[in-house]
């Protein structure tokens, strides 16, 4: 079971590496969206510091929505998804592998670049660390929840917009706790409770989402 998990992760990462441009565009989308806010709101650092947690988190949310489309659709079009579904291994493990690969390719770069973007908003060092920690806990949860939506909308017309419509409301708790943690840390409070809740959401998503996504894939691919 672990071998198929590793095999799927390796395969997806190799495929993503060969088509780097698509992956990098998600990262640049994130950077550009975050950088647009100072241009729209104005350069006052006091204002920017207040809106920074929300801006970075909403941008991360949108960026992860954009990349969801890629999670299953290529494999669906070229038929390899059906082959994966026919293996004797549990489908939820295969799905978990694909989600982990998706997060490593699109979520992890966002987490790493976020502190740099936080500097643009004049966040104090402690808040930068909290931002990193909250994204580290939150973006995998976004990938997990998003996988359900990606599986449900597989092969539908207008799938890209639709998946955001389905998934964004479900991601609201992640957004609240993630941005809340950074905000608490900016105000000099302890961010631990927010981070614990974010971890709880991640654990919950980790235990339910692969299984639900597998069920959704079986419905979509018949």
């Amino acid at each position: 079971m672990l071998s198929i998990l590793r095999c799927v992760i390796q395969r997806d990462i190799t495929l993503a590496w060969r088509g780097r441009a698509g992956v990098l565009s998600t990262l640049f989308f994130f950077i550009i969206v975050v950088s647009l806010f100072p241009l729209g709101v104005g350069p006052e650092l006091d204002v920017l510091r207040v809106i920074a947690p929300g801006v970075v988190w909403v941008a991360a949310l949108l960026a992860s929505m954009l990349s969801l489309d890629r999670m299953f659709s290529h494999d669906y079009v070229d038929g390899s998804l059906e082959q994966l579904m026919l293996t004797s291994q549990p489908l939820s493990i295969v799905v978990l592998g694909k989600i982990i690969a998706h997060w490593l390719v699109t979520g992890a770069p966002l987490v790493l670049i976020a502190p740099v973007l936080g500097l643009q908003f004049d966040l104090p060092p402690k808040a930068l660390i909290t931002l990193l920690a909250s994204l580290l806990l939150g973006t995998p949860a976004l990938s997990l929840i998003g996988a359900i939506g990606a599986a449900l909308t597989l092969g539908l017309r207008g799938g890209g917009v639709l998946v955001s419509l389905l998934v964004l409301p479900l991601c609201i708790p992640v957004l609240i706790f993630g941005a809340g943690a950074v905000e608490a840390s900016i105000n000099g409070m302890n961010a631990e409770s927010h981070l614990s809740l974010l971890g709880a959401v991640l654990v919950l998503a980790l235990s339910f989402a692969p299984w639900t996504t597998a069920a959704a894939l079986r419905i979509s691919v018949e």
């Binding site: 359900i148 449900l152 539908l156 017309r157 964004l168 409301p169 339910f208 959704a216």
Partner: protein, 249 residues
């Protein structure tokens, strides 16, 4: 048990539920009209003016039932969709699809009347308060369900995909509700609470309860009407529909 002679399973078939729904609709429609008329009359003419909020409080006779129904109907929709998914029963999935627009409508009415009430009370149309926000998110969940079912042409896939989404939403609703509650809430405490004496005058309470009942039977009436349309649309190639239409036209 006298009722054991009736074969209830018979009514899980769309063909036999269609005429039954047709017989039930007029009764529920009359009941809706009667309850609405009574509830609105008591609420707007008999119930006294609130000493704090003036006459503006009367909007709760629409607002509270609508909010309740929006939440309740989401749970009903998810349960019917889940049963349809688990037992592969078409009628239950159709029931879920029939409930969704009414639920979305109630969520919208709840937000709309909430805004109308908020303007004189809080001096603003909208506040980012916990309950307003979670009703808004509930509306988003309804919209997601409706649009997912709308773009899938294969009706069976639409039923099952919608069911997965509704069930995921149902698990998420409490999490969303409690996460949204982290903000300091401006909203007044709940008007009706179980296990505690209600904090409003008996006349107001009876008007409110009648309005809740009215919204309930309204939802049943409209859902059954919509269900009949959905059955006809999906079963249009079935012999019994051809027979039915051939006879009535």
């Amino acid at each position: 048990m006298g009722s054991s002679k009736i074969n209830w399973y018979k009514y899980t078939s769309p063909a036999s539920f269609y005429p039954l729904a047709g017989k039930m609709i007029p009764w529920f429609a009359v009941l809706t009209a009667a309850l609405l008329a009574t509830g609105l009359y008591i609420g707007f003419f008999v119930a006294p003016t609130d000493f704090q909020q003036g006459d503006a409080y009367r909007i709760i006779y629409i607002h509270v039932p609508a909010s309740w129904m929006a939440m309740f109907l989401y749970a009903m929709m998810a349960i019917y969709a889940g049963l349809g998914l688990a037992f592969n029963a078409r009628l239950w999935s159709m029931m879920a699809s029939a409930i969704a627009p009414t639920g979305a409508l109630f969520a919208f009415i709840s937000l709309w009347t909430g805004a109308l009430w908020g303007k004189p009370m809080w001096g603003t149309w909208w506040v980012w308060d916990a309950r307003l926000t979670s009703t808004l998110i509930l509306l988003f969940l309804y919209i997601g369900f409706l649009s997912l079912q709308g773009v899938i042409d294969d009706k069976r896939r639409a039923d099952r995909a919608g069911a997965v989404l509704a069930l995921v939403g149902l698990v998420n609703v409490p999490i969303i509700y409690f996460s949204v509650q982290w903000w300091n809430t401006l909203h007044q405490g709940a008007t009706l609470r179980l296990g505690r004496s209600a904090s409003i005058a008996p006349v107001m309470l009876s008007a409110l309860l009648i309005m809740i009942a009215a919204c309930w039977v309204y939802a049943i009436t409209v859902t059954l009407m919509r269900l009949r349309c959905i059955i006809l649309e999906r079963e249009q190639h079935a012999p019994w529909v051809a027979q039915l239409l051939g006879r009535t036209i």
